[in-house]
Symmetry: C2
Subunit: 331 residues, 2 copies
């Protein structure tokens, strides 16, 4: 296994400790609940925003805790939702008079943990609302899901509600904004390789040297089809032909365009895909308001990429333009 | 080959076009010289800062053109220095009354191109100075180098002189600051896998499933030794035992600590390494002023990481804290 690890079972806690130590005091770490949270949270004048979900998708979501994004993240192990206890204890610790917002990617395990955790919190008179992210157009239901999966579009949901919460928006306003983003964001992923969870120690699935999986899930779940690898131009067509008609995105629309790396693909290839997608969208009259080219939601070291479109209005544009301060950064 | 490409020979220009299109007008692109440059350059009140070097190390250096960093980048093809013509034409186009600074990583091809390009510019009465980055402690001379190689420490040189240039520093001041950073920065890299240049279409070198290369070069050049993969704790010892005594870094020193991914390693593993290194340094009395955990200087999709230490004084700390605006970003 080509990984930097000690005991593979300690991969997640050791990574979380690194995030904590790298933060220079901006974050706190509670190992009992795999909990990374803002050192200044909870803030009584601000809704607390929490995500759980599995590890192995970094920087989502443990590395986007900070000002203007999440207040806390309490992940499970690699590709495993958090136990109910993590959700309950995190929500109690982060409880604010303005309420707590759970952002949940639509996977059965995550949903169960957050639904039960929310019920336990409500019994304690903690005010909780939930956003359910389901941006992946690849499949209607999947191995791990009833309904569509939540993938890289999750970033935009967190960015928008995180910025609004920073300005003092109420829990009800955040639910409206978050659901507006969810209604307008769509993603498709394509994998060129598998990935190896540290404890498993072997690849999640087999894929031939000349093959790709179109519509891959971020836990290696099957997508729409297994085909021969085609050119980058044809791959962008596969992305856009799935994503554009789904909303649909139309001539005259303004969008945020994200090319997200799945972990093992170079940033150079992501920019190459970006350039092709940008030109094809503009030729359809769809204007790119802002570009996002990086790793946002990965599947460990999987080679591959996803394309996300978010249709933006003035409110969303304003929220995307707000600053944020999180672990994952260059400077 | 598990890559998103069209014609592999067009990989670099298509990537550069993507960088240009993603910039929203902040950058310009001149395909004749693989040239990405700031839309507001040259600025007559500011020294212009230029880097050439090979492609395949992204985000270095084409994706760190922008305010507070490089004014222009004119890369060669993957792992190939730029032709002299690129250096000459780029320097002429970016010429400022305050002068032009070339930042050159110490590889024979890069040095030749920049030395000849500088001579041609000086014949045109363009004022040029050169910084030579050589932070890699792994080997004294290497396949591609007389003297030490320039690797991820390059980021800190650009950050410091980029920030100072933004404040109007003279060419002579930038040379002093840059050489101060170079004198205080040290790096070692470890590879777990090889990588595949797009045109070659096959891995640069062979490495067994249980092996790693200690002291790897960013073009796959051999390092100090080929050994079995050891635990992350032992790997951090290998890093620190090579880097710390080299300057030497001593108890009481303040440092910037960078864990740089070589391309195919997950950000989770990089944070895991960071946490271990942070604790080991603090136990030696070496205080971490600021953390850098991301991909800064890659070798395509190579699995691996490097550790860089920069000893900081008040001047360098101030320059590292300045803002910058480049392609590579999260928000």
């Amino acid at each position: 296994m080509k990984k930097f690890v000690n005991d593979p079972r300690q991969f997640v806690p050791e990574m979380l400790e690194g995030i904590y130590l790298a933060s220079g005091g901006a974050l706190k770490y509670e190992p009992k609940y795999n909990l990374i949270y803002r050192a200044d949270a909870p803030n009584p004048n601000k809704v607390s925003i929490i995500q759980g979900s599995g590890s192995g998708h970094e920087p989502a979501h443990t590395m986007i805790v900070g000002k203007g994004m999440l207040d806390a993240a309490c992940p499970g192990d690699v590709f495993a939702g958090p136990p109910v206890e993590f959700v309950y204890e995190t929500t109690k610790l982060l409880n604010s008079p303005k309420g707590v917002l759970h952002i949940v990617n639509n996977y059965t395990g995550d949903r169960l943990a957050f639904e039960q955790g929310r019920e336990m919190c409500e019994a304690d008179d903690i005010k909780v609302e939930t956003l359910l992210v389901n941006d992946d157009v690849a499949v209607k239901d999947s191995t791990w899901t009833v309904g569509r999966r939540g993938v890289a579009g999750n970033f935009f949901v967190i960015k928008a509600v995180g910025a609004a919460a920073e300005k003092g928006a109420s829990l009800e306003e955040l639910v409206r904004i978050g659901n507006d983003v969810i209604a307008n964001v769509r993603t498709l992923g394509i994998a060129l390789s598998s990935c190896t969870p540290p404890v498993k120690g072997s690849p999640l699935f087999e894929i031939a040297d000349d093959e790709m999986e179109v519509g891959i899930g971020i836990h290696g779940e099957p997508g729409r089809q297994r085909t021969k690898i085609v050119s980058a131009n044809e791959i962008v067509d596969l992305f856009l032909n799935a994503v554009v008609p789904d909303l649909p995105f139309k001539s005259g629309d303004e969008v945020a365009l994200m090319i997200n790396g799945l972990g093992g693909t170079t940033i150079g290839e992501l920019y190459l895909l970006y350039g092709i997608a940008h030109k094809k969208l503009e030729s359809q009259g769809i204007k790119v308001f802002r570009s996002y080219v990086n790793e946002y939601c990965t599947s460990l070291e999987m080679a591959g990429a996803s394309l996300t479109l978010l249709k933006v209005n003035n409110e969303i544009k304003g929220l995307l333009n707000e600053p944020a301060e999180v672990s994952i950064r260059v400077f």
